[in-house]
């Protein structure tokens, strides 16, 4: 009788998909996953902008994002240079976002704040605060032209899968998903605006709409708003998961922060 119960229990677990603990989740091998755009097809957001905005981005003397870079350079010299060599930090922004084992996704912003609390021994900078944007702009600028390389096993991580689900899930009043536009309709227009391929390589970017520099986190929340769906809170980890997915998706495009966007 006990034997039968145990067998029943196992079949029950199998039926409802409850995997016994300690066994790996059966997932397709990561190599099988195709990116939406091949390397040669990748186009950064700048190429979808009006010519005058492209010109403003190309010329550092006209790019208002450089004001944030200047302030970030000063902050770096004051707070970070004690431990970090500015030269050695050149590629940092190209290495993030990264998945930590059993942990959340580390973005450039979380890495800066981690240093801020652990090493500088000061309170976190709030997201979208001037000093955080200045530091992230400076470090992204230092890595300008570098290419992000995703971790080899990133597609088998839960964070990446959550990011992809968020990107491909239809949501909001307009029945849109991110992929519906940015994977399939890039180059066409929605209302009056060209649809980009949805890469985050220009962020933190100066957006004319914001009249200031904002992070990818803010840009993604603006995307949710535009899709007329629930906008996640700034601290929602789904935004970091999405950033991770986007970085994997745009792997091969050179970083171009601080970019100028409309």
């Amino acid at each position: 009788m006990r034997w039968l119960l145990v067998a029943l229990g196992f079949s029950f677990a199998a039926y409802f998909g409850v995997a016994p603990p300690g066994r790996a989740d059966p997932k397709p091998p990561p190599a099988a996953i195709q990116k939406p755009y091949a390397l040669a097809q990748l186009r950064s957001g700048a190429s979808f902008m009006a010519p005058h905005l492209q010109a403003q981005q190309r010329d550092d003397d006209q790019n208002p994002g450089m004001l944030w870079v200047d302030q970030g350079r000063d902050l770096f010299a004051a707070d970070c240079a004690r431990c970090h060599d500015a030269e050695a930090q050149k590629r940092l922004a190209a290495k993030l976002p990264r998945v930590t084992p059993n942990g959340p996704v580390v973005t450039l912003e979380t890495q800066i704040n981690r240093c801020q609390t652990d090493r500088v021994k000061r309170a976190d900078y709030p997201l979208e605060s001037q000093p955080l944007l200045a530091l992230s702009s400076y470090l992204s600028f230092a890595a300008r032209g570098e290419v992000y390389r995703a971790q080899s096993d990133v597609t088998s991580t839960e964070a990446w899968q959550r990011g992809r689900n968020a990107f491909t899930q239809v949501q909001g009043k307009l029945d849109f998903s991110c992929a519906a536009c940015h994977d399939q309709m890039a180059g066409k227009r929605v209302r009056t605006q060209a649809i980009s391929q949805g890469h985050g390589v220009g962020f933190p970017a100066y957006r004319v709409e914001w009249q200031g520099v904002g992070s990818l986190n803010r840009r993604l929340r603006a995307c949710y708003f535009g899709m007329e769906t629930l906008v996640p809170a700034q601290s929602d980890p789904i935004l970091a998961d999405l950033a991770l997915y986007l970085a994997w998706r745009s792997e091969g495009l050179p970083l171009e922060a601080p970019a100028v966007r409309r």
């Binding site: 200047d70 100066y206 009249q211």
Partner: protein
């Protein structure tokens, strides 16, 4: 045009003044000024619905070695973080300085060294 040199910036800088690195005597050049400023029009509200008071840069002055070379009254037709380009001619090396004042009485300044060959 020669390679631009960036300004001598004080800490906590909020502007860029860009001039060419080396000039010939009498050469016309563009001095470019980029100021970080909200240029608040007075027509916007904050997240709580309160009107944001108007605050735009009123006056920008450029001086070369103390001598006035440009005075501009700029009002609310400029966007946030305004960029200004001024055509100037240099006869000798010296310091180009920019000063501005907004409606709240905040002042800002920045300067850059001009080097004229043989001057």
């Amino acid at each position: 045009m020669s390679e631009p040199s960036t300004s001598l910036n004080p800490p906590g800088r909020n502007a860029r003044l860009i001039v060419p690195r080396l000039l010939q005597r009498g050469e016309e050049f563009t001095a470019r000024l980029l100021i970080q400023h909200p240029m608040e029009t007075g027509f916007r509200r904050d997240d709580a619905g309160k009107m944001l008071p108007a605050n735009v840069i009123e006056e920008i002055i450029l001086r070369f070695d103390g001598e006035l070379v440009f005075r501009g009254r700029v009002l609310n037709a400029l966007s946030a973080n305004p960029s200004l380009a001024v055509l100037l001619t240099a006869q000798k090396s010296g310091t180009l300085s920019a000063n501005w004042r907004d409606q709240m009485g905040n002042v800002g300044s920045i300067s850059a060294e001009l080097r004229v060959a043989g001057g």
